[in-house]
Amino acid sequence: MTTLHAAPHTAADDDAIIEIRDLRKSFGQTEVLKGISLSAHRGDVISLIGSSGSGKSTLLRCLNLLETPSAGTLRLLGEPLPFRERGGQREPADRRQLRRLRARLGMVFQGFNLWPHLTLEANVMEAPVQVLGRSRDAARAEARRLLERVGLHHLRDAYPATLSGGQQQRGAIARALAMSPEVLLFDEPTSALDPELVGEVLAVIRDLAEEGRTMLIVTHEMQFAADVANRVIFLDQGEIAAEGPPDQVFGSTRTERLTRFLGTAALT
């Protein structure tokens, strides 16, 4: 296993923006994440790669608690996130803290998940108005600026169903950005797109990386993963099987498991 830090997870990493230690997640009897430790610092762009079913989505969803980890500790934006047991279920102990932290973590889904009953602009305005209490005027101005940025200003009054996948995904990125998140989580943002639409979405994400944003990106686009990230994490069967700078992970010293994965990844 290659790691960037010699002993990265022994003490609390105080300036880590995300820090998880020995995170485990089981669905029923199957353990999907088998003790994951990682930390992300401000400005890190981390690519998460691994074969289908290796637990990438589950890991990302644990980070904003769409899934509750079965065990392990989690520090988000410097705050430890405590859990409690309720009715035999583990859940975040403080729902308010959870919402406060979620508002500062942006998530972009494989399936876009724009709200179909709202126009693109209204989709982007919704959380700033409802969660941050922004005025509609301020939220609208910001929404237009962000839609401009992702190249959708002219489509701001369109409903999601009338847009292409690439347009919807760029809209979903604008929706996440509207909360001025400190970390962006991308779960295979281009996997549901026709090949000719992948580029426009990757360009937006690349642009965000160059801006110095902290991002975790699950992706099957290996070239992109190598280009955009300063760190690559290879997940295999619920464990981190390789981790480090892209040239190191993808380079000549790559592990056998990774070589096997890259061999199959090239085919898909």
């Binding site: 904003n64 769409l66 009715g87 919402r99 406060r100 932290l101 979620r102 508002a103 500062r104 973590l105 942006g106 998530m107 889904f109 399936g111 998940n113 724009l114 709200w115 179909p116 009953h117 709202l118 126009t119 919704e126 959380a127 409802q130 969660v131 409903y159 999601p160 169903a161 009338t162 979903a172 929706r175 996440a176 909360m179």
Partner: protein, 235 residues
């Protein structure tokens, strides 16, 4: 008397009595329906995210209410329940309360509509893609905000056809209140018919009024559906 004289608004014509009956019917139906929607919303939320006890209680409610004939429920609520309440009040040394036919009518319709609306809304809520809700939660919205701003508008297109049906049923169910002497449209028509012996005329007149209500309601619900599904179709 000619047909026009019989249907004249002012007595001795019976038109005014019929319209008055219609107005009462619409009031009972409207109040019962709105209350039923509130019950249905709470019931659906309880069935989907309540604990096991709440879910079992709600299942009892929807199963029993939908199984027992509404006529029986009306008689129960009009005669039996007030009697029980008054006996209870009497043992406490308190005075009697009077539950009029209007209130018991509204209560029965709300109870029945609530049971059906629970099922309609539960189905519609479950059909909302979970990703849309996850997106809302991932932005830090409270469960109430998610429900109000995302779940509710997203489930409306699925719920409106069922809810529109329920409204039509509610307007017709008001006719059952005739048994407790509430002069809604059907009883008003029967009284007019009895007094004048023009049965066919007045029952047809009542039928036409019900038909007009249903046609206008259909238009209104079609408009609502168009609004609710705005933007949700590809073409």
């Amino acid at each position: 008397m000619s047909v026009m004289e019989l249907l004249a608004l002012a007595p001795p014509g019976w038109g005014g009595a019929l319209l008055n009956g219609l107005w009462l019917s619409l009031q009972v139906a409207g109040a019962g329906y709105l209350l039923g929607l509130v019950i249905g919303m709470a019931g659906a939320a309880g069935k989907l995210s309540g604990g096991p006890v709440i879910r079992d209680l709600l299942t009892c409610y929807t199963t029993i209410t939908r199984a027992v004939p509404e006529l029986v429920l009306i008689l129960l609520l009009y005669f039996a329940v007030p009697e029980a309440i008054n006996q209870l009040l009497a043992t406490l040394g308190l005075g009697r309360v009077d539950i009029g036919p209007f209130a018991s009518g509204v209560a029965v319709i709300a109870l029945v509509q609530g049971a059906y609306a629970t099922e309609v809304m539960r189905g519609a809520i479950r059909a909302v893609p979970v990703g849309q809700l996850e997106a809302a939660h991932s932005l830090g919205m409270t469960p109430l905000t998610v429900f109000r701003r995302i779940t509710l508008p997203a489930m409306l297109p699925g719920a409106l056809p069922g809810l529109s049906n329920l409204w039509l049923i509610a307007t017709k169910d008001t006719a059952l209140l005739a048994v407790v002497g509430f002069t809604e449209l059907t009883l008003a028509a029967r009284q007019a018919a009895g007094a004048t012996k023009h049965y066919l005329l007045f029952l047809c007149a009542a039928g036409v009024l019900y038909l007009i209500v249903s046609l206008i309601s259909n238009l209104a619900f079609k408009g609502l559906e168009r609004r609710a599904t705005r933007g949700m179709h590809h073409d």
